[in-house]
C-alpha cells in the first residue's frame, strides 16, 4: 500500500528539473498531491482534515484546469523530460489532445472534491476518510500524468498508479463482502487489461527499440496487432463491451464522488489511450475503423439494454457509461473510416463528435452520479423501486438530475445532443459513398437512433420512478437535501449541460484543437463549418426555447382567474390506492427487455399464489449480463483448471524458486 506513494514522491522530486511550459501543470498536480498527504497528516481532526484536503485539491484542480484551457488556445505543445533513477527517462508532453482531456479531468475532479466535503460525513472513520482523500488525489495526479505521458515508461507508470489508487477507492467500504468482490473484479480486469497494453508496447518496442511513442519501421500487420492488443487493454479500462464486467460492480461500490470521477473521466483515459495509439501508430487499415465502430455499436446498444434492467441506481448509471463509451467509439470509428475513405469532412466530424462526447459524458455522468449520491446519502438506499417522489423534497437534486437525464438521452437543447449531432453528420457523410463505407455508416446511424430511443426509455424510468410519483418505501419519505458543497457542483454541472447545448461554438473550437493534434495530415482544420453548425444548433435551441416561453405566457394567460384545485390522482374508480400500486421500474422496462431477451436473459422468481388464503409471495427479477454469465464457464473455470494442474510448481521450497529465476535468466540470455 505504501509502495506507490513512495514512487510518486520520487517522481515529484524529479519534477524539479522540468523545463519548458509545463511548470504550471506540475505545480497543479503537486498541489493536488499535497492535498492528499495533508489529509493523512490531519486525520486526527476530522472536519479540519476534510476542509483542508478538499480545498487544496480544489485549488490544485482549478489551477490545472485553467492551465489546460490556456494550452488549448495556444499553438504547439509543451514538453518536459527528466530521468527516473538515472536509468529510464520520463517524458511528458501536452498537445491539444492532452490538454482537452486534462481540462475534463481537472474540471470534474475539482467539482468531485468539492462534493466530497459534505458527502464524506462519517466522522467515525477519520483515518479511512483521510486515506480516501490520499488515494483520490493520487488518482487525479495519475490521470493527469497518463494523458500527458510522452513515452511508454512514463505512461505505464502513471497507468499503474491510476489503476491501483482507484482500486483502493473502490474498496473504501471494504467491510461489505460485495464491495471486496467488486474491488477484486476491478483489480483483475485492470491488470489483465494492463497486460495487453504491455504486450502492445512490447511489440512496438521490439521493432523500434525505443520507448518513445513512435512506430517507424513497424510493418502494417504488426501495427494492426499492436492496435488490437492496445484496444483490448484500453477497452477494458474504458468499459467497452465485452470487457465491461468490472464497471457495474465497481461504480456502485465506490463512494459517489469517486464514481463520478471514475465514470466521468477515469474510464476516458481508455479512450485517450486508443486515440493516442491510433495517432502514433499511423495506421492505415480500414478494418480497424470498422472494428472500433462495431465494438462501439455493441457497447452502445447492449449497455443501455442492461441499464434498463437494473434495479440499483448506481449500477444503472454504470451501464450507461458502457453505452456512452459506445457512442464515443462510434464517433471515433466513423472518424477512422473517414480517414481511410479519404473523406476529411467525415473524419473530422466523427473524431470531433466523439471527443465532444467525452467532455459531455464527463459532465452529465458525474452530475448523475452526484445526484444518485445525494439520494443514497439521504435515503440510505440505491434500490430504484424503493424510492419515489423525491422531486418534491429534493428540488435542486431533482431538477439537476432531470437536466442530466435529458442530456444523457441526447435531447436538445442540452449538450448530449450536440455531440450526437456531430457524429450523425459525420456518419451521413459516409452514406453517399461506396459500399465499404456506406454499410458501416448506415449501421452507425441506425444504432445511434436505437441507442437514443433506449436511453430515453431508461431515463424516463429513472426520473419517473425515483423522483416522481409517490414514495414507495419509508426510506424515501420525509427526506431533505442538504450540504451546499454537494448541491453547488450539481448546479454548476447542470449549467454546463445547458451552456454547451445552446452555445457549443467555443467548445467546438477546443475539440477541433484536439482533433488537430491527432495528426490527420489535413493541415489546419478550418473552423468555419464548425462555427456554422454550432450556430445552427444555437438557432434551433433558441427558437425552441422562445416557443416554450411564448407558450408559458399563453398558459399563464389562460389560467388567469381560473379555479385551480388539488385532489388525488384519478384511480379509474378505485378508492383505496396505495403507493405500492404504482408502476415500478421493473414493470416499466419489462416489455423492452422482452424484445432483447436473447442478449439480456431475464431471470424471474415468483412463487404462484395458491389456495383460498394464500401465503405472502414475492417477485424478483434479474437481468443477466451475458458476458458475466459466460465468464465463469468459459474463462474462470478453464483458467482455474490450468493453474490447478500447475500447482506442483508451487511447493514452498525457496531454493527451487531461486532455481526457477536462474533458469529463466539463462533461457532469456539465449533468446535475447
Amino acid at each position: 500500500m505504501h509502495g506507490k506513494p513512495a514512487g510518486d514522491g520520487a517522481k515529484k522530486i524529479a519534477t524539479g528539473g522540468s523545463k519548458g511550459h509545463m511548470n504550471l501543470f506540475f505545480l497543479s498536480i503537486w498541489i493536488v498531491g499535497s492535498g492528499g498527504v495533508l489529509a493523512l497528516l490531519l486525520s486526527g481532526k476530522f472536519s479540519a482534515m476534510k476542509t483542508v484536503a478538499a480545498l487544496v485539491i480544489v485549488a490544485g484542480c482549478c489551477l490545472g484546469m485553467l492551465d489546460a484551457l490556456s494550452k488549448l488556445t495556444q499553438e504547439g505543445s509543451a514538453q518536459a523530460s527528466f530521468s527516473y533513477l538515472n536509468t529510464l527517462s520520463l517524458e511528458f508532453r501536452i498537445d491539444g489532445l492532452s490538454a482537452f482531456f486534462l481540462m475534463a479531468i481537472f474540471a470534474i475532479s475539482m467539482l468531485a472534491a468539492l462534493y466530497s466535503f459534505h458527502y464524506m460525513a462519517d466522522d467515525g472513520k477519520p483515518l479511512r476518510t483521510a486515506a480516501n482523500y490520499l488515494f483520490f488525489s493520487l488518482l487525479i495526479v495519475s490521470m493527469a500524468l497518463v494523458v500527458t505521458a510522452a513515452n511508454m515508461v512514463a505512461f505505464l507508470l502513471a497507468w499503474e498508479i491510476m489503476s491501483l489508487s482507484s482500486f483502493f477507492l473502490v474498496i473504501h467500504d471494504y467491510q461489505a463482502a460485495e464491495n471486496r468482490k467488486a474491488g477484486y473484479l476491478y483489480f483483475v480486469f485492470s491488470h489483465v487489461g494492463a497486460m495487453f497494453i504491455f504486450a502492445a508496447f512490447g511489440i512496438i518496442y521490439s521493432q523500434t527499440g525505443s520507448f518513445g511513442f513512435e512506430a517507424t519501421g513497424l510493418s502494417p500487420a504488426l501495427k494492426v496487432v499492436a492496435f488490437v492488443f492496445a484496444f483490448i487493454g484500453f477497452g477494458s479500462k474504458a468499459g467497452v463491451f465485452p470487457f465491461h464486467v468490472w464497471l457495474p460492480h465497481a461504480h456502485p461500490a465506490a463512494p459517489s464522488h469517486i464514481s463520478a470521477v471514475m465514470s466521468g473521466v477515469m474510464i476516458k483515459t481508455g479512450i485517450y489511450g486508443i486515440l493516442r495509439m491510433y495517432t502514433f501508430l499511423d495506421l492505415h487499415a480500414p478494418s480497424v475503423g470498422i472494428m472500433v465502430l462495431v465494438f462501439g455499436m455493441v457497447s452502445g446498444i447492449l449497455g443501455v439494454v442492461y441499464a434498463l434492467g437494473q434495479h440499483d441506481l448506481k449500477r444503472l448509471l454504470a451501464y450507461h457509461s458502457v453505452e456512452n463509451i459506445g457512442i464515443i467509439l462510434i464517433g471515433i470509428g466513423i472518424g477512422i473510416i473517414g480517414v481511410e475513405a479519404e473523406n476529411p469532412i467525415m473524419a473530422v466530424l466523427g473524431f470531433a463528435g466523439g471527443l465532444l462526447h467525452v467532455l459531455n459524458h464527463a459532465i452529465f455522468k458525474s452530475l448523475l452520479f452526484m445526484g444518485a449520491g445525494m439520494v443514497l446519502h439521504q435515503t440510505g438506499t440505491r434500490t430504484i423501486d424503493a424510492l419515489g417522489g423525491l422531486m418534491k423534497n429534493m428540488k435542486i437534486t431533482g431538477v439537476t438530475f432531470l437536466i442530466g437525464s435529458l442530456a444523457i438521452s441526447g435531447l436538445p437543447p442540452l449538450n448530449g445532443f450536440v455531440s450526437e449531432f456531430f457524429i450523425y453528420m459525420g456518419s451521413f457523410r459516409g452514406i453517399s459513398a461506396q459500399t465499404l463505407v456506406f454499410v458501416p455508416s448506415l449501421l452507425a446511424v441506425v444504432s445511434l437512433a436505437i441507442i437514443g430511443g433506449l436511453a430515453l426509455a431508461c431515463f424516463t424510468k429513472v426520473v419517473g420512478v425515483v423522483f416522481q410519483g409517490e414514495p414507495r418505501s419509508q426510506a424515501a419519505r420525509d427526506v431533505a437535501e442538504k450540504g451546499p458543497a454537494m448541491l453547488v457542483p450539481m448546479v454548476l454541472l447542470a449549467g454546463a449541460c445547458g451552456v454547451i447545448g445552446i452555445y457549443p461554438g467555443a467548445f467546438m473550437f477546443m475539440v477541433v484543437k484536439a482533433v488537430t493534434a491527432l495528426g490527420l495530415d489535413y493541415g489546419r482544420i478550418p473552423m468555419e463549418p464548425f462555427a456554422g453548425m454550432s450556430a445552427n444548433i444555437t438557432l434551433g435551441a433558441t427558437v425552441f426555447l422562445a416557443a416554450l416561453l411564448a407558450l408559458l405566457a399563453l398558459r399563464r394567460f389562460l389560467y388567469q382567474g381560473k379555479p385551480v384545485t388539488r385532489s388525488g390522482t384519478w384511480g379509474c374508480g378505485f378508492t383505496r390506492p396505495t403507493t405500492r400500486m404504482q408502476y415500478t421500474g421493473s414493470s416499466y422496462a419489462a416489455s423492452i427487455l422482452e424484445f432483447f431477451r436473447p442478449a439480456a436473459p431475464l431471470e424471474e422468481s415468483h412463487p404462484p399464489v395458491k389456495g383460498l388464503f394464500p401465503q405472502k409471495t414475492h417477485y424478483h427479477s434479474h437481468v443477466h449480463d451475458i458476458v458475466e454469465q459466460s465468464l465463469e464457464p468459459f474463462i474462470v473455470r478453464p483458467v482455474g483448471w490450468l493453474f490447478d494442474r500447475l500447482r506442483w510448481m508451487q511447493h514452498g521450497d525457496i531454493h527451487l524458486y531461486i532455481g526457477y529465476i536462474l533458469l529463466a535468466i539463462v533461457v532469456l540470455l539465449f533468446f535475447v
Binding site: 449531432f421 456506406f438 441506425v446 437514443g452 430511443g453 430515453l456 389560467y559 385551480v564 390522482t569 414493470s587
Partner: protein, 306 residues
C-alpha cells in the same frame, strides 16, 4: 419569409379541423351522422375556458409536459416546407434536430404521466417509451434513403425542391415502400389504430389517452393541440410524398397539398373503422414492418444508383 410564416400559422390553426375529419369518416362507416367538422375547435375553446384539478402527487414536470410537447410540435412544423413552399427555417441537419425535438416532447409526455403515481399512466408511459424506439430507427432508415437521393440533410431539400415527380422519378419503387413505412410510423407516433385506440374505454389498453388522464382544463387543451400539430406534421410529409408535384400556381400547389393531407386523415379514419387494435405484444412486429420496408427501400436504391 412572411409567406412562410403565414402558411405556418395557417397550418397551425387548421390542424384541429383535419383531426375532425377522422371523426367524420368513422361516423360514416358507423352509419352515423357524426359530430360537426369543427368539433375540435369547440372542445379546445371549452377546455381553455375551464380551470384545472391537479393531482397531489404531481410536480412542475406535470405542467411542463403539455407545453414542451406543443412547443416541439410547433417548432418542428417551422422546419417543414408546406405545399412546396420553403420553410420558415432550415439548416443542414435540421431533420435530426427535429426528430430529437420530438423525442424531447416524448420525454416530457412520459415524465408528466409518471408524475401522477397512477399505475395506469405508468403502463401507458412504458408503451410510449417502447414503440417509438423502433419508429425512430425506421425514420432514420428513411432519412438515409433521402440522403442518398439528394445528398442533403434538411427537410427543405426533400419536400420543396421543384421536381416534376419528386423522388418518384429516380426511385419509384422505393418510394412506394417509403410511403407505407411512413404511414405506419404516423399511426404509431400519433397513437392511432392498430397501435392504439383513441376511442377505447378501458384504461388498461390505451397508450396515449391513458397518459393524459389526469390533465384537465387549459393544460389538456394544450395537449390536444400538441397532438393535432404532431399529426399534421406527419400527415403533411406523407402528403408531399404522394403528391410531389409543382403545378406552377401557388394556389394550386396549396390545394394539392391540403388535398393530400386530407387524404391521409381520411386514410387514418378508414383504417380506424375497418381494423381492430393489435394485441400489445403484436405491436412491435407491426412497427418493425416499417423498418423492414424502409430498409428494403434503401437496398433497392443501392442497385439503382450504381
Amino acid at each position: 419569409m412572411i409567406e412562410s410564416i403565414l402558411l405556418w400559422s395557417f397550418a397551425l390553426l387548421t390542424t384541429p379541423l383535419f383531426a375532425g375529419v377522422i371523426f367524420k369518416v368513422k361516423a360514416f362507416f358507423g352509419g352515423r351522422k357524426g359530430s360537426p367538422l369543427l368539433i375540435n375547435y369547440y372542445t379546445l375553446i371549452k377546455l381553455f375556458k375551464k380551470g384545472s384539478v391537479y393531482s397531489t402527487s404531481t410536480t412542475f414536470i406535470f405542467r411542463m409536459g403539455p407545453l414542451v410537447s406543443l412547443a416541439a410540435g410547433a417548432v418542428a412544423l417551422l422546419f417543414l416546407p408546406l405545399a412546396g413552399h420553403s420553410p420558415v427555417m432550415s439548416f443542414h441537419g435540421d431533420v435530426i434536430f427535429v426528430l430529437y425535438l420530438l423525442g424531447l416532447a416524448r420525454f416530457f409526455t412520459i415524465a408528466a404521466a409518471m408524475d401522477t403515481a397512477s399505475p395506469f399512466e405508468g403502463m401507458g408511459a412504458a408503451r410510449e417509451a417502447y414503440f417509438p424506439i423502433i419508429c425512430e430507427a425506421s425514420m432514420f432508415m428513411i432519412l438515409i434513403l433521402f440522403y442518398r437521393l439528394t445528398g442533403e440533410l434538411n427537410m427543405a431539400a426533400y419536400f420543396s425542391v421543384a421536381q416534376p415527380l419528386g423522388f418518384w422519378q429516380v426511385a419509384g419503387s422505393s418510394m412506394l415502400f417509403v410511403v407505407i413505412a411512413f404511414f405506419i410510423i404516423l399511426l404509431t407516433e400519433n397513437a392511432r389504430v392498430p397501435v392504439d385506440d383513441p376511442a377505447t374505454h378501458l384504461e388498461l389498453t390505451m397508450i396515449h389517452e391513458v397518459m393524459v388522464l389526469d390533465h384537465s382544463g387549459p393544460d389538456f387543451g394544450l395537449i390536444e393541440m400538441g397532438a393535432f400539430v404532431k399529426m399534421f406534421f406527419y400527415a403533411s410529409i406523407v402528403s408531399r410524398l404522394i403528391f410531389p408535384f409543382e403545378l406552377g400556381s401557388p394556389i394550386l400547389n396549396l390545394a394539392v397539398f391540403f388535398a393530400g393531407a386530407l387524404l391521409v386523415y381520411v386514410a387514418v379514419g378508414v383504417v380506424e373503422s375497418i381494423m381492430a387494435r393489435y394485441r400489445m405484444d403484436r405491436v412491435p412486429k407491426f412497427v418493425l414492418t416499417s423498418f423492414a420496408l424502409a430498409f428494403f427501400a434503401t437496398v433497392i436504391t443501392l442497385e439503382f444508383l450504381k
